[in-house]
């Protein structure tokens, strides 16, 4: 097994009196992808936001590339190579496509920014034709391309992707996953949170199923299907379905 890039130990996340994540631990080796799956409210997005430094951890630890980042702020993590693609569209809606990309590559060294900007247009040529267009006026797929492109070209060491395919057409999802595949093959470690389970399991190396904030199952991605069904539909529903 290769070196562990991301290590999460006994993570707890609370909102007021509600506990969203309770004692979750996992490791993601360098260059691999972990899919975090589970029903709504399972705590997937809370973990993603905590990894990106947007939500504080109540307890536990997060280590990225050997460095404890549990209490690091989001902007510091972004500079250290943690790229987070939030649920919805991770763009600046009133800015132009070019401005979005210019802001996105600010985490790169100054001399590499221009090249990084051009790489976005190589990944997604359609964005090249929309440089001056306001981001909010792009189609949903183009907005997601912009968000993914903005993150990919910074060559992050860890990408945390939250609900990438939400509301997108399958062909667009193919394009975006193809871009993610290039990054993964290039050595980027990924944490993928996805409602589109089949797609996520096909892409990821390992999977973890969350249920009400705790780990219900973890293992290789190709063996996760049944655990996911239990998580989404509940044990009784599955048992009833199997019995009939």
């Amino acid at each position: 097994m290769s070196d562990v890039l991301l290590s999460v130990k006994d993570l707890r996340i609370v909102y007021g009196e509600a506990q969203a994540v309770d004692g979750v631990s996992f490791d993601v080796p360098q260059g691999q992808c972990l899919a975090i799956l589970g029903a709504n409210g399972a705590g997937k997005s809370s973990i993603a936001q905590c990894l990106a430094g947007l939500v504080p951890a109540a307890s536990g630890s997060i280590t990225i590339d050997g460095e404890d980042t549990t209490k690091a702020h989001g902007h510091v993590l972004a500079k250290q190579g943690v790229a987070y693609l939030p649920e919805g569209r991770g763009i600046f809606p009133t800015l132009s496509v070019a401005d979005n990309i210019s802001l996105g590559v600010r985490v790169c060294a100054k001399d590499k920014r221009a090249a990084a900007e051009e790489r976005v247009y190589e990944y997604f040529p359609i964005l090249g034709k929309r440089r001056k267009q306001q981001a909010a006026t792009l189609s949903g797929g183009e907005q997601q391309m912009l968000a993914v492109g903005r993150a990919l070209v910074t060559d992050p060491k860890l990408m945390v992707v939250d609900e990438l395919s939400l509301g997108l057409a399958p062909l667009i999802i193919d394009d975006i996953y193809a871009a993610l595949r290039i990054a993964k093959d290039g050595g980027t470690t990924m944490v993928l949170i996805e409602q589109y389970v089949e797609r996520a399991l096909a892409f990821a190396d390992n999977a973890m199923v969350l249920r009400r904030g705790v780990v219900a199952w973890e293992g290789p991605a190709n063996g996760a299907a049944e655990a996911v069904a239990h998580s989404y539909m509940g044990d009784t529903a599955i048992d009833t379905a199997l019995a009939s």
Partner: protein, 669 residues
């Protein structure tokens, strides 16, 4: 006409600069700078002090004031207050900014002196003719203002659109979360924006100083005029805001040749123009795409929901701490006070306390408006003034009985409240605050200045009432009268909250969507409450004027209204005891300071009131409920075995919270 146009452009340019500062800071922080008038006043006074007391060259003084003092002030305020406001409820944000405005304005007077400097010299110390344009002479001051405005607009455009700092700022305006994800600390962006915004506001203050004098009200008027531009720009569009405010200044000037020599139009049209522009802009926006403000954006709504749930938690903890006997302590204290005040104090102090109770009635008007409907109304003082004027006119000019006049005064104020409510209730909380403040300024400049009402600035006589055959000449009798009226109004408001209508109002307050699905008439209910608030304020106005024997319109200024709002919110806008304490503070604190301390410190109470309002960020329930809560905890400890809380005796849904936990100040739960 050209001369009027140039004069209008010069005034409008200052409005435009001021509007620009408002939009810049609002965009970056989602905090509307109600304190901008106070900031501009402070920085202009610093400039004046540097020139006249320190002896610096005026250009150097302006540079120090705008480029050093103003940014440091902006940074300091961001560090201690403004940076914390983004996670506060919209009401707490507004209240804190209003408190800051009151504290800054009064603090400036405490630091630099109480006197109003009528015609201070500006950056150009000996202004003369700079050039002739189409036969019209343009003064040095006018030319300077126009050049500065053009420079600020030009530099602003270039910085925002052509530099990376501008790009980051525009990004932060769009989404703070996304700004974080691009490796930028949004706190630094917001701090920088406040530094720049304060500097621009200060520059506007220095430029307008020779025209309006060094008076807080002059600066408040300038900022209010720029509010019109900000509303035209929907709070966020820099250039619509800039040119909208410019248009207001130009319009105010170019109408001058067409005005009649005397009459209502002659005196009222120009001061009304910002309000008219604002009204037209709001109507156009409602017709086109609806009016939105910060409370409706998704990101802010999420923050607000979190802050509001924290506040609800604080209230729930307080309700759950209610003991068996301690609830009667407040009434016992009141009974003792009512019994002792006339015995212990001299007639002067009894009168001061009686006036405090009358102020308390006025502040009770905030409970139905802000406490029940969540509307920030900054014109309650105007309804107080309208009630006072109407009662004085009816009683003294038309010979009506004083008591009847007081009641009719309340009705007149309620009708005015209906009109204002119709305009501002469909708007968001921030828009409502802006429009009600503009109405307060409008009332001050248009209604109160009518010769019939102002009576050459000496006010109109209003006698004290005769109740049950007793003429309330004595201050003690008036104290009993004011206290009785306070209790009746408070009782009505308490019963209203516990009634079925009160339950409907609580539902509206909690969620308008839920209320509409239950068939509750939202708009009508809120409008009725707004009118009720205006009626209470109008009644209080008559009582205050009757105590003072004069309806003196200058005593109901918009700036004073901000102080009233600040102290009321600080004590707790829904707390009857808190509003009584706030009313007494408004009367007793200035009397104490005026009697026992030098005149120079006369504004210290206002500074304290402002600071108290600011602390609402840490204590959203208000001081009075907080003290009550502490007392209840003490009562609990002193009671050996207290019975369980009876079900359904509170004013809302009981939360499942620990009953022995102290109230979390600034709870982040």
């Amino acid at each position: 006409m050209l001369s009027y146009l140039i004069a209008g452009l010069a005034v409008g340019a200052v409005y435009a600069i001021s509007a620009m500062a408002l939009v810049i800071t609002y965009n970056a922080s989602r905090v509307f700078n109600f304190a901008q008038g106070g900031m501009a006043f402070f920085i202009a006074y610093c400039f004046y002090w540097l020139v006249n007391d320190v002896g610096l060259n005026s250009y150097l003084a302006a540079a120090i004031a705008v480029l050093v003092i103003a940014p440091v002030l902006g940074l300091f305020l961001w560090a201690v207050l403004l940076g914390r406001l983004s996670s506060a409820t919209p009401l707490a944000r507004l209240a804190a900014m209003i408190g800051l405005s009151v504290a800054l304005t009064a603090g400036t007077s405490v630091i630099f002196g109480h006197e109003t400097i009528v015609q201070p010299k500006g950056i150009i110390q000996n202004s003369g003719q700079a050039l002739k344009l189409g036969g019209v002479s343009v003064s040095d001051e006018q030319l300077l203002i126009l050049v500065v405005a053009a420079l600020i607009a030009g530099v602003g455009y270039l910085v925002l659109n052509k530099t990376s700092a501008g790009l980051i700022t525009r990004g932060a305006v769009d989404s703070q979360m996304m700004t974080v994800l691009t490796g930028t600390n949004p706190g630094k962006v917001v701090a920088g924006t406040w530094m720049v915004g304060t500097a621009i506001a200060g520059l506007a203050g220095i430029l307008i100083m020779p025209s309006v004098g060094l008076s807080a009200i002059g600066f408040a008027n300038v900022v209010a005029a720029s509010f019109a531009g900000v509303v035209i720009g929907r709070l966020t569009n820099l250039w619509w805001g800039f040119f909208g405010a410019l248009a207001v200044g130009v319009a105010q000037s170019v109408v001058i040749p067409y005005l009649p020599d005397e009459g209502l139009l002659a005196t009222a049209l120009r001061p009304s123009m910002p309000f008219l522009f604002m009204l037209i802009a709001i109507l156009v926006q409602i017709r086109s795409a609806g009016v939105r403000d910060d409370t409706q954006s998704r990101e802010v709504a999420r923050l607000s929901t979190k802050a509001e749930s924290n506040e609800a938690h604080v209230h729930a903890v307080m309700r759950d701490q209610r003991g068996a006997w301690d609830r009667w302590v407040g009434w016992a204290v009141l009974a003792v006070v009512v019994f002792l005040v006339p015995i212990v104090f001299e007639q002067f102090w009894v009168g001061v306390i009686a006036l405090g109770m009358a102020y308390g009635i006025a502040l009770l008007s905030i409970r139905p408006v802000t406490g029940e409907t969540n509307v920030v109304s900054l014109c309650q003082i105007s309804f107080v003034g309208i009630g006072a004027i109407a009662a004085a006119q009816l009683s003294t000019t038309y010979g009506w009985d004083v008591t009847t006049s007081l009641i009719i005064g309340a009705v007149v104020a309620a009708l005015c409240g209906l009109v204002v409510g119709v305009v501002c209730l469909p708007l968001g909380q921030l828009y409502a605050a802006i429009t009600t403040f503009a109405f307060a300024l409008l009332a001050e400049q248009v209604i109160y200045t009518r010769p019939t009402f102002s009576n050459n600035d000496s006010g109109v006589f209003l006698d004290r009432p005769t109740i049950a055959g007793v003429y309330l000449l004595d201050n003690t009798q008036f104290f009993y009268f004011a206290t009785a009226v306070f209790l009746v109004v408070a009782g009505v408001l308490a019963l209203l909250r516990r009634s079925t209508a009160g339950l409907a109002l609580a539902t509206i307050r909690s969620s308008r969507v839920r209320a509409s699905t239950l068939g509750i008439p939202i708009y009508r209910s809120r409008l009725a409450l707004f009118a009720l608030g205006a009626a209470i304020a109008g009644l209080a106005g008559g009582i205050i004027a009757s105590y003072q024997y004069v309806a003196f319109p200058a005593g109901y200024s918009a700036a004073l209204g901000l102080t009233w709002f600040a102290i009321a919110v600080a004590q707790g806008p829904s707390s009857i005891g808190g509003l009584a304490a706030a009313g007494l503070s408004l009367s007793v604190a200035p009397a104490l300071f005026g009697t026992f301390l030098p005149t120079r410190l006369a504004d210290v109470p206002a500074v304290l009131f402002g600071l108290m309002a600011i602390q609402i960020v840490a204590n959203p329930a208000g001081i009075n409920p907080q003290l009550r809560s502490a007392f209840r905890l003490l009562a609990r400890k002193l009671t050996p075995q207290h019975p369980p809380n009876p079900p359904g005796d509170d004013e809302g849904v009981r939360a499942d919270v620990s009953t022995n936990a102290p109230v979390p100040v600034g709870s982040s739960r």
